[in-house]
Symmetry: C2
Subunit: 190 residues, 2 copies
DNA sequence: TTTTTACGTCAACCATGTTGACTTACTTTC
DNA sequence: GAAAGTAAGTCAACATGGTTGACGTAAAAA
């Protein structure tokens, strides 16, 4: 039989569609973090360490306060994981050149290796999903995620639709102004 | 100038694209849970309570063990939040008819109201993102998320591309067999 | 009747978040 | 050059929500 609701009541469909998205986000995130969590547990680290390692790896020389803005946690909370990572030599701190109050954070070789192992798992999961879904779906995926992210962080991402069907070398089209001089943040590298 | 890397080294682009997706997932989930978290804090509840309320609301009469499978936490952990929710009369437990060992979970009116308030925030965020991105992007979004989710839970979702351009009344096309007789789980309602 | 299952409970522990108060070193401003 | 502001760290106390392990009760299944 025909599903009456979807024909007679578009509002139900909308509600249903949105709930589906909410749930998929829940399940996807749960499974997305599952792999790394297991690896981390084996070496006595947690998800919080992963996040720090990830964003330091992504933004070498990042300052503590920049990292705090990304993670949206308190410095006391960060301190716990960060000092552990420094003790265990996954991360080194070097005083800033221009401002010597800053402690610039960088991964050590050991840190880089761990980061690779952790991210490899997630990258593979995403890559599989991308492959199955196809290039257009990937573009849609990014567009929607982009819209879900709060405005201040949204501009970290260029989602303007890279080379899918007709690869075009986009020349010097500024997408987001650098808010933090001297430091490129999460994913905007041009 | 043209970005040399994306032209000369497609592997770099791929790596870059995957990392971008990883980060967007992080930011999106962080912001996606932010709204409800604030509301919950005001009434002395946490994200864990939200998840329970959500999935009970979605699956009225769900058993404890089914809920545990969805949440992937221990029963001791669930017990803490669940018994609180029962005490505060957001949820009622009724013995199963066929199997009287079971405690079937249902939202009270108070529970339904809270669920609405919490989910409204998330639904609005998703709806905005969907509106901005367009129908095709939404379909891509779902397809990719679907691929990210582990196989066992994947079949909770019908992602076959509903009515976007040409609405078709799909007639009795079985998408996933019921694994749990008598109980419809998260998003599969036909 | 025995065994298995669904659910609950007590206890201890851990990871990771919070607030609040205070310190140190360095930079900026007047 | 002194005062104010800022980057980072620290100590302490607490909350939330996960974990393991052991044990109990009632009902269903073998």
């Amino acid at each position: 039989m025909v599903d009456v609701k979807s024909v007679a009541n578009p509002l139900f469909l909308r509600e249903e569609e949105l709930r589906q998205a909410i749930e998929m986000l829940f399940f996807a995130y749960r499974d997305f973090t599952g792999g790394p969590d297991e690896m981390l547990a084996e070496i006595g680290l947690g998800r919080a360490h992963h996040r720090v390692i990830y964003f330091v790896g992504r933004n070498p020389g990042i300052t503590v306060s920049e990292l705090l803005k990304i993670l949206r946690i308190t410095k006391q909370s960060l301190s716990r994981v960060l000092s552990h990572l420094v003790e265990e030599e996954f991360i080194i701190q070097t005083p800033g050149e221009r401002d010597r109050r800053q402690r610039l954070l960088t991964l050590t070789q050991k840190g880089v290796e761990l980061e690779r192992r952790l991210t490899a798992d997630q990258r593979e999961r995403i890559a599989d999903a991308f492959r199955k879904a196809g290039a257009d779906a990937v573009q849609g995926f990014k567009l929607v995620l982009h819209g879900i992210i709060d405005a201040p962080d949204r501009e970290r991402f260029d989602v303007s639709g890279g080379p899918t069907h007709a690869p075009v070398a986009r020349v010097g089209n500024k997408i987001a102004g650098d808010k933090m001089p001297g430091t490129k943040i999460a994913g905007i590298k041009r």
